[in-house]
């Protein structure tokens, strides 16, 4: 039961985008981990990331009738 609640909470967070930044960081580290030489930028701050994420999310047709 506790596990189910935790899964549901995780899903709510993912669906709403509440954990978008955490997922971004994870993805960022995954993509850059195996590439030591690569001169990559540091990850965006949470506020910066959220701005980009939100603006991008609203390109194109997102809602229907």
């Amino acid at each position: 039961m506790r596990l189910n609640l935790r899964t549901i909470w995780k899903m709510i967070r993912e669906l709403s985008g509440d954990d978008a930044y955490e997922r971004y960081l994870k993805n960022f580290h995954k993509l850059h981990a195996h590439d030591e030489q690569h001169e990559c930028d540091t990850p965006l701050s949470k506020a910066e990331f959220f701005k980009q994420w939100q603006d991008e999310k609203w390109q194109g047709i997102k809602r229907c009738c």
């Binding site: 899903m11 709510i12 967070r13 993912e14 669906l15 709403s16 985008g17 509440d18 978008a20 930044y21 971004y24 993805n27 960022f28 993509l31 949470k46 506020a47 990331f49 959220f50 701005k51 939100q54 603006d55 991008e56 999310k57 609203w58 390109q59 194109g60 047709i61 997102k62 809602r63 229907c64 009738c65």
Partner: protein, 689 residues
């Protein structure tokens, strides 16, 4: 589980479903319980999903779970992201489910509960779900391309252009009719007007909170927003009862229409984070929360359906909209049975998240089943009302008269008894001054929902429930209005950008203001005419929307059929070709009748001629005579728009048939644009479970 047991369960489900549908269909004279609608729906959905959908996926489409999806191949951590199937399902459903499945069934209930219910159930499992699933599959195999792009690549330039024009037209008409629905819900209702207006600053507070105060704390901000929304519902009562405050929020339809246009223009120009994005969060929570609550309430309360199975209005004389059962029930209920608009979400948006092809059944087919279920609940909410009350709320003054006594006399004479006292009591319970001629479907749905919620969770709060339901509908109608205006703006900027590149820059302010104004003027015109039309406007606009939406569905199904034939699957092409044929029949018949019918309540030209004659002979009252020229012009315009839609539809069909014929006879056609097979590396299903 052993095989015999499994088969046994499916046999039982089939029997239960058949008896529920049979019970609904042959029941006459006595009240039928709403629970049978739920049982019939769930059994039909279960059988269709288990057998038809999985057969299409396995045999016709041949989904391949070892094949990497665009989300995997093109993963960029931004829009292409392999995502857990339930999360994709959630996003997909939130995107496809709007106010359409709530409004259509409410209006179509004038024919009785049976025709609409059967169309919602069978239209969805054989048409709408197939369209959504096939489009999702095709787009997934084509790097998540949009419907318009696929139409262009696979059929040719005609299909692509048609998809673009259809999308733009639907947007304009949809927004106008939705705006009209909100206006009719707020007309002379200080409570509703206050609550709906309050959603705007509330969305802005939420927007600022999640952008600047606590960046990215989406759930925190949303919780704050939901609390404020609920407070605004309760606060509306205070405003409505306050002597001076109520005057601020008590307006005529026309004034409200101008406000909505001003709002739409502002919303399309303001940055998304301030209004559109936070409003969308709130409307999504409200939508999912309220729909679930309604399902629970129907299960708890098990209300009786009071509307007859079939009314006399199947002959075309219906007070809510004119036109016979065939084809108009199929036009009126678009979303909920089959909605072309879904194909725009199924292509382009959802495939970018899909981590495995085998989830296409659940997301494409299953998502639409859930939307169909929402439509069934709207049908229940409309038909649990006394039919007399239902017709009194939904019939416009132009049909039953603006005087309450005349209206109840006329409605009672149809065989649906209702009294002035009954309507007054109901209005008082709901905290409104009157419920007569509240056309558009939102108020009657709200009364239906309030009575279900009231009986299931306590009768004392009827007025609160009513305004909660109005707020719930208004908030996502306004979201569609904002989002639609913005999409229309982008499309227009894209088109104009071909002529003058500067106009195509989406952030160039003069272009933004210019294109937004054109889009708002487009739907604003129809909204304005709808408000001044004594027959309510919804009766004209909703069928037009239905025709446009079915036309877009026809484009999607044409793309599907064309590709199936080109891939050598002619013998299976019926899965999309048959729903397509049906859509072509109903859309063409409806359009033909709307253009040529001599009945002034159906035919645009005959209505225009009738009005012109009355105007010329001076028999119109002065108030009506002054608006008659505008109404006549509008009727002509509507007729030409309908003709344009149906011509476009046939153009696409003929083009698709041409491609199919060339393919069958071995002549060269545009090559299939399916991307090459790359094996999936998402082993162990890590992303899916």
């Amino acid at each position: 589980m052993n095989k015999t047991l499994k088969s046994g369960i499916w046999v039982l489900i089939s029997l239960l479903g058949a008896s529920a549908v049979g019970g609904i269909a042959i029941n006459r004279g006595e009240n039928i319980n709403a629970i049978w609608f739920i049982v019939a729906a769930l059994c039909i959905y279960g059988i269709a999903y288990r057998f038809y959908a999985t057969w299409i996926a396995a045999t016709v489409l041949a989904v391949d779970s070892t094949r990497a999806t665009p989300a995997e191949r093109l993963e960029n951590g931004r829009d292409f992201i392999p995502t857990h199937k339930w999360i994709v399902f959630g996003h997909h459903f939130a995107a496809i489910a709007g106010p359409g499945p709530l409004v259509g069934p409410t209006l179509a209930a004038q024919f009785g509960f049976l025709p609409g219910t059967l169309w919602i159930l069978f239209g969805a499992v054989l048409g709408g779900c197939v369209q959504d699933m096939v489009t999702l599959f095709l787009s997934t195999r084509r790097d998540a391309k949009s419907l318009g792009q696929m139409a262009k690549d696979e059929l040719g330039a005609i299909g692509g252009t048609a998809a673009l024009i259809a999308t733009f037209s639907i947007m304009i008409i949809l927004i106008a009719v939705l705006g009209l629905i909100v206006v009719n819900a707020m007309k002379h209702s200080p409570w509703a007007t206050f609550t709906v207006s309050a959603t705007i600053p509330i969305a802005m507070i939420v927007g600022i909170y999640m952008r600047y105060l606590r960046p990215g704390q989406v759930l925190e901000a949303s919780a704050l927003g939901v609390i404020l929304l609920l407070m605004s519902v309760v606060g509306g009562r205070f405003v409505a009862e306050h002597e001076t405050l109520r005057l601020l929020f008590d307006h005529e339809g026309l004034m409200l229409a101008w406000s909505i246009m001003a709002y739409g223009l502002t919303a399309a120009i303001l940055p998304v984070w301030l209004l559109l994005a936070p409003r969308d969060y709130l409307s999504t929570y409200m939508k999912i929360g309220t729909i679930s609550l309604l399902a629970v309430a129907i299960l708890l309360l098990q209300p009786s359906i009071k509307m007859p199975a079939i009314t006399q209005f199947i002959d075309g004389s219906g007070p809510i909209f004119g036109g016979k059962l065939f084809p108009f029930v199929f036009i009126t209920i678009a979303c909920g049975a089959i909605s072309g608009f879904h194909s725009l979400i199924s292509s382009g948006t959802t495939p970018k998240l899909l981590s495995n092809e085998r989830d296409i059944v659940m997301i494409g087919y299953g998502g639409m089943l859930l939307e169909s279920f929402v439509a069934i609940m709207a049908m229940i909410a409309a038909t649990v009302l006394d039919p007399g009350v239902y017709f009194a709320i939904n019939s416009s003054a132009g049909i039953v008269g603006s005087n309450a006594i005349d209206a109840v006399a006329k409605i009672s004479a149809w065989g649906y008894p209702v009294t002035v006292e009954q309507m007054q009591n109901l209005a008082q319970q709901m905290g409104e001054s009157t419920l007569f001629a509240r056309t558009g479907g939102a108020p009657s749905l709200a009364v239906g929902m309030a009575s279900i919620f009231g009986k299931a969770f306590g009768d004392g709060l009827l007025a609160i429930w009513y305004h909660f339901a109005i707020m719930f509908e208004a908030i996502f109608i306004l979201t569609t209005l904002d989002a639609g205006t913005r999409v229309g703006r982008f499309m227009l900027q894209d088109i104009l950008g071909n002529i003058w590149p500067k106009m195509g820059e989406t952030s160039w302010t003069p272009s933004v203001i210019f294109t937004s104004s054109i889009v708002v003027a487009g739907w604003g015109y129809f909204l304005y005419i709808g408000v001044i039309d004594p027959n309510g406007g919804v009766n004209i606009l909703w069928p037009l929307f239905g025709i446009a939406n079915q036309m877009l569905a026809a484009i999607a199904l044409s793309v599907g059929t064309g590709i199936l034939v080109k891939s050598g699957k002619l013998k299976y092409a019926g899965i999309t070709a048959l729903p397509l044929a049906w859509l072509v029949i109903i859309t063409s018949t409806a359009a033909w009748q709307k253009i040529t019918s001599p009945d002034i309540r159906i035919g645009f030209f005959s209505a225009a001629n009738d009005l012109a004659e009355k105007l010329a002979s001076g028999t119109l009252p002065p108030a009506k005579a002054s608006i008659a020229p505008q109404l006549i012009f509008n009727l002509h315009l509507d007729a030409w728009i309908t003709l344009f839609f149906v011509s476009l539809l046939w153009l696409i069909i003929i083009d698709m048939l041409r491609v199919c014929w060339r393919s069958i006879t071995g002549k060269p056609v545009l090559p299939l644009t399916e991307s090459t097979h790359i094996p999936s590396r998402l082993v162990d299903d890590w992303v899916r479970d």
